[in-house]
């Protein structure tokens, strides 16, 4: 009976096909993908990362390179098209088109009205060099990480965050006016606090649940070198309304809202010292990857299905020991019949994974299945 229930709980999610038209350096791409481990091999600047970018775009409607729509359009073209089929509990077909004048997004042939109806159709976790910003970058990078974790696991988090952001922007616009109407300001303060309190609560609950996974991943990949601790640092210490009122003088001089979840941070401590300040480059890199591994574990745990892993050329950054710590994640994804896309150049491709993988060769905007790879 136990076996039967595990069987029923085992869910999977994978990208079954990808269509690109005028996306980055792809004029036209039609590729079918099985579940499993896909290795995208090719020289630099051939378009390996662009495929990961397109998959991530389907999942989040954003580029992990942090750019808007225009740079993703193929040079000299008007707009790009990305289409996909995602197989999980059911099958979903996604089509998106983006140009300067026109953008559209449809799910199963119907235009998407609300973002919350769409997000979650495909879940991905990306590993890329930009991840280092999680450790080295400003608090904004870590807030965005918490937001990403919560919106991937909590269907109501995104509308809450949007509402908070709306209240914050309106409130800041009021504070910039020469004469601030106190009653109008109070109206927006109430909205800010209402949404903000929920955000703080959800972030506060997230960190102790996420920490053990991050510690475990970090332990695995750094071979237990230093103890990792994650600490949520809310900008609001105890009562948002009171502290907001107390900040009135500072608000007036900065002409913007100076306290609230938009000023939160997630402290990363290695052996009780701030990793950003005291860690070595290697330690920071290891920590960034550990956080992403933990994200994959966390999302898997909540949805009982591993997210699609997108791994952009990070094997080159890891020494043999750390690479060994990373492999169990891929191993687990493989066992759970998850899907992994990983880019590598000839020089640094992980031979240890080669037998189990489906090979693709990427060359000047084409993707060709390699002969001899097992399916």
């Amino acid at each position: 009976m136990a076996a039967e229930s595990t069987q029923r709980l085992r869910r999977t999610m994978h990208l079954a096909y990808l269509r690109l038209r005028d996306f980055r350096n792809y004029g036209r791409l039609d590729a079918d993908f099985e579940p499993g481990f896909h290795l995208l091999l090719g020289d630099n600047a051939q378009g390996k990362t662009n495929i990961l970018e397109a998959i991530y775009l389907i999942a989040t409607l954003r580029s992990f390179r942090g750019v808007g729509g225009a740079p993703m359009i193929r040079h000299g073209q008007k707009g790009y098209f990305v289409g996909a089929k995602i197989v999980s509990q059911g099958e979903h077909e996604v089509k998106m088109y983006w140009s300067a004048q026109e953008r559209s997004l449809s799910l199963d042939g119907r235009p998407v009205q609300k973002l919350t109806d769409y997000l979650g159709v495909l879940r991905t976790v990306v590993f890329c060099t930009e991840d280092l910003q999680l450790v080295k970058g400003p608090a904004r990078a870590r807030r965005r990480f918490m937001d990403l974790l919560l919106s991937q696991t909590h269907s109501t988090y995104l509308p809450l965050l949007q509402r908070y952001t709306q209240a914050l922007r309106a409130r800041n616009a009021l504070l910039r006016q020469p004469i601030v109407d106190p009653v109008a300001l109070e109206g927006f303060s109430r909205e800010l606090v209402r949404a903000g309190d929920e955000i703080i609560r959800l972030r506060r609950e997230l960190v102790p649940r996420f920490s053990p996974l991050a510690q475990e991943a970090h332990h695995r990949i750094s071979a237990g070198a230093e103890a990792l601790r994650l600490e949520y640092q809310p900008s609001v210490k105890s009562d948002f309304t009171t502290e907001l009122a107390q900040s009135a003088a500072r608000e007036r001089s900065y002409r913007s809202t100076v306290i609230g979840p938009h000023r939160d941070d997630l402290q990363l401590l290695l052996a009780d010292r701030a990793a950003a300040q005291f860690g070595s480059e290697g330690q920071k890199r290891t920590l960034a990857i550990a956080l992403k591994m933990a994200q994959a574990d966390y999302v898997t745990g909540i949805h009982s299905a591993p997210p699609v892993l997108l791994i952009d050329d990070i094997m080159g950054e890891l020494d043999a020991k750390r690479r060994a710590g990373f492999l169990p994640l891929l191993e687990r994804a493989h066992q759970a019949r998850g899907q992994v896309f990983m880019t590598a150049t000839e020089a640094n491709w992980p031979e240890d994974l080669a037998q189990e993988s489906l090979g693709w060769r990427v060359e000047r905007g084409t993707l060709v299945k390699q002969a001899g790879s097992s399916g």
Binding site: Q101, L160, Q166, A170, A184, G187
Partner: protein
């Protein structure tokens, strides 16, 4: 060398300014119009002008009407002690369709939205304050949207309109009729809990 004649380009530009009409639709409509039978186009133009000439805002409540005061404001059977505050004239139609409100209306003409430069003084609040002095109004029902601006505007109005002998209420918001709690987000649920009501035994 222009492929499309200039009058068509001008028409496309004018149509594209209309709400809900993008450049593509504007082009399609313009090309249709310039090829349509001239009588039917003239009739459309006349209908537009006629509607614009005959419809105006009610001087009392701000509703769309042919005659001012509007039919609702001049209806003696309506409860004059009850006024429902809405954002746009079209909101009156929605509430009227429900058939459950028998008071009068007041159209605010927007909501406080600092990001779009809309301040309290840009809204028709002074008109309502005048009505509070002149009419036997005992209750104002605030029926604005539940987005951030709608809620903040509601709060603002509750404070500004407060005076002796006047009850200010807000329409309930919360769980949509016929849906389960699991689909409601935190903000909606916390609203619904705030607005809870005692049940008759």
């Amino acid at each position: 060398m222009p492929v499309i004649p200039q009058p068509v380009t001008h028409l496309v530009a004018a149509l594209a300014k209309l709400p809900g009409i993008g450049p593509r639709s504007a082009e399609r409509i313009a090309l249709y119009l310039v090829q349509a039978e001239s009588g039917s186009v003239r009739q459309l133009a006349d209908t537009i002008l006629d509607a614009r000439d005959r419809v105006r805002l009610c001087e009392i409540c701000g509703a769309l009407t042919e005659q001012s005061p509007c039919a609702i404001c001049s209806d003696a059977r309506r409860d004059a002690s009850l006024v429902c505050l809405v954002e746009r004239p079209v909101d009156i139609l929605s509430i009227e369709k429900s058939g459950t409100f028998h008071g009068k209306y007041h159209v605010l003409g927007g909501k406080i939205s600092p990001l779009d430069g809309v301040e309290p003084e840009d809204l028709n609040i002074a008109g309502l304050e005048r009505r509070l002095k002149q009419e036997p109004i005992k209750e104002v029902v605030i029926a604005l949207g539940t987005d951030v601006e709608g809620d903040a505007t509601g709060f603002y109005l509750a404070k500004r309109l407060a005076r002796d002998g006047l009850k200010i209420t807000r329409i309930a918001h919360g769980i949509p009729a016929g849906s389960g709690l699991e689909y409601a987000d935190e903000v909606t649920l916390s609203r619904a809990l705030e607005g809870r009501r005692e049940m008759a035994p």
